[in-house]
Symmetry: C2
Amino acid sequence: MKYGIAIFPSKAVQDIANSYRKRYDPNYALIPPHITVKERFDATEEEIKEITAELHNIAKETKPFPLIIKKVSSFSPVTNTVYLKVEPVEGLIELSNKFYEGIFPNERTYAFVPHITIGQELSTDEHSDVYGSLQMEKFDIHEQVDRFQLLYQLENGSWSVHETFKFGEDC
Amino acid sequence: MKYGIAIFPSKAVQDIANSYRKRYDPNYALIPPHITVKERFDATEEEIKEITAELHNIAKETKPFPLIIKKVSSFSPVTNTVYLKVEPVEGLIELSNKFYEGIFPNERTYAFVPHITIGQELSTDEHSDVYGSLQMEKFDIHEQVDRFQLLYQLENGSWSVHETFKFGEDC
C-alpha cells in the first residue's frame, strides 16, 4: 500500500488554499490542503505496524512548532507548481528529516522545501498568470503545529487518514 | 465549526465503495467512503477540546467490533440513497449511542442505520437502475473496527480529519 505523512494547517488556512486549488490544482479533490513531510512510500501491513510504533516515538519527543506563511512561491522552471511557502523552521525540518532515517524508506526525490500546493500542472501561460498575480500578495499566517497524520492512498488516487499523531503523546 | 464522527473501513472496502460512488455519489470528492457514527454538529474550539477529551474516554473503553457487509440496501422512498448495509452489531450501535449522550449535542435526525453510502441524490429512474442491478449482489466483508475519527468540514464542503481515536487507548 502507498503511504504518506502530512501536516494539515488550520481550517482557515485550508480554506484559503482551497480557494486557489479549486481552480488551479487537479489534485483538489484527492486530499485537503497539506504540507507533505514524507513523500509517498510503499509499505506492507507488517511494516506499517513497525512504522506506526516509530511514529508514536517521534510524536512523543516532538514539541509544537510554528507554521508561518508569508507569501506565495513557485517551483518553476522545474515544475509549474505554485504554493504557499511555509517557513522552514527548525522543528519542521527536524521532523521531516526523522521520516527519512532509521526504519523509514530514505530515498528523497527532492530537497525538503516545505509548502502547501495551491496550483500545479499549469500551462506556462497559466503559471505566469497565476504566479504573476499572487506573487505580490502578502500573507500573515502564524499558527502552531501539534500533530501529523499518516495517510494511505486509495485506488482512485485520493488519500485516507490512517492515524493522527499528537506531539508529546506516545499512543 | 462543523464536526462529525466517522469510521473508515479498510482500503479494500473503500475501493469497492468508490467504484460505485464515482458514478453515483455527488459527495465522492468530499470525503472517503465511511460510516457516519455521529452526524454533523456545531462546536466551538473550546467545546471541541472538551469533546476530544470525552472521545478519548470513550475510545479507551471501547473494544474492537466486527464490520460486516453482506448486501446493498436503499433508503428509498425516504431518499434515493443506495448504500452498503453495515450489520448493526452491538459494539457499533453502543458506540454511536455514546455520541448522542452526555456532553454531545444529542439531536438525531434519523434513527441509526449503519451504512456506507455508494449513491445519493439519484433520480427515480437512476435509483431503480442502480439499486435494481446491485440489489442481488452478495458481499462477504468481515473486518475489525479499531478506531474512529473526528472530522471537521471545510468551506468547500469537504472533510478534514482532526484526530484519530484508537480503541483501548486513552490519548
